[in-house]
Subunit: 254 residues, 2 copies
């Protein structure tokens, strides 16, 4: 469950991954996980992620659904020079604003590309919706941008990561969610689930999840507690540790 | 862009990942990429993916949005024995059906868990919405299920993968999308983007994407063509190869 910060005042976010290459299975999306960890450090709650294809109406519909629900929406992908890079135009359409070559973006491109080689395709990377602020791209210069509460970033991970660093100082941030992990080892989830539910019910401000994993070494369970209230988190974690310590692994998997 | 199979007759799918642990950044979602590649082999077009938290109304809303749009919806996560495992109940709610302990699921659990240890938490894993068919779990026995066009699977990758194998024979499948990849090496995207757009426009039944990547060895671009029409794909790939062969890498990055 989401931490109790779900209430008023929480800074929330969604990620919108734009890219056929993710949906076809060609490329593994590592950006969402990176953004999730990055935002957690900033005290921003990532609440949803979506992957949509390179289809204008899909991008527009997802953007408009997400930007109304969350403090921020971070998009990745689709801002390069090729015909399948349609994100900037889709964002302009979603916001109902015009889009044109931005002199600031052209200036950024000219830091890397000689004027004589700034052809039509490359100039596409300078198309920025009206009213957007640029987000620097120190890697390859073609900028991202922020318009309203939407931050538009590249899909290439090292560029996306640099853009996230560039935009982070402009974001509203929250109190960081504190995390405690209790190792339940090979104790089957089914042995502690009922008692864990009681602990969760008794500690309303703490989100508690139980996460099994399997490897050649066998099953391993971890109980993860998350809260912005340090004292409450400590009390809940103590209760969970007492529960786990009181159990001895049996042979019934769960 | 999506292959031209977007039209009538295409078998489509969405993935719905249910799990706070993905959104918090604790766990990297590898299931979506696995399912994407798996469905591509079956000729099923993955069109969308979403990650939502362990919150009933979020799961219900996403399920109802997706199951009306695509041939199939594959969910992962939230079917274990702990209090944060709420997927089965959310699916029942989305379909407006009752949910109860399923004797077939109890029988499956009893293959692994002695009757005397089948406590309330473990019995939760046998709660199956009315009308659903079970999906076998050879790894840890607690089953997934299929109801209508929704396939509900575990979040643990090795279990999810086994469930996908179990359900695949029941799915309608399509013609596999054929893929050709043309290596553009270090040729900047900006040098071929205009001509590539022309090729894309001239080969309507072929989806063409250009994908840059960066490593310590420098930039590397790949042009990926996808189609269900082998002859058309070959012609488009020939045109792209001719384009790439005609270019010599210059020093202007793009």
């Amino acid at each position: 469950m989401q931490p109790s910060s779900s209430g008023a005042g929480a800074i929330t976010a969604a990620v919108l991954v734009i890219g056929d290459e993710i949906l076809s299975g060609r490329t593994l999306d590592s950006n969402t996980g990176y953004i999730a960890r990055y935002l957690a450090e900033l005290g921003v709650d990532l609440r949803e992620a979506r992957v949509v294809p390179d289809v204008t109406e899909e991008i527009v519909a997802a953007l408009n659904a997400l930007r109304g629900r969350y403090t921020y929406v971070f998009t990745t992908g689709g801002i390069g020079p090729t015909h399948d890079d349609i994100t900037a135009d889709a964002v302009a359409q979603a916001f109902g604003v015009s889009i044109d070559e931005d002199p600031r973006a052209i200036a950024a491109l000219l830091e890397r590309i000689p004027a004589g080689k700034l052809n039509a395709a490359r100039r596409r990377m300078a198309r920025i919706p009206a009213g957007a602020e640029l987000v620097d791209n120190p890697v390859s210069k073609a900028p991202g941008f922020m318009i309203g509460n939407v931050i538009v970033m590249a899909g290439v991970p090292i560029i996306m990561q640099a853009m996230l660093d560039a935009v982070a100082p402009r974001l509203r941030t929250g109190a960081k969610v504190l995390v405690e992990t209790v190792e339940a080892g090979a104790i089957p989830e089914g042995r502690y689930a009922d008692a864990l539910a009681d602990i969760a019910a008794a500690h309303g401000g703490v989100s508690i999840g139980s996460y099994p994993s399997f490897s050649s070494a066998g099953a391993r369970n971890q109980i993860v507690l998350r809260s912005r209230d340090a004292a409450l988190l400590t009390r809940a974690a103590q209760a969970v540790r007492a529960l786990v310590d009181g159990l001895v692994s049996d042979n019934a998997p769960g």
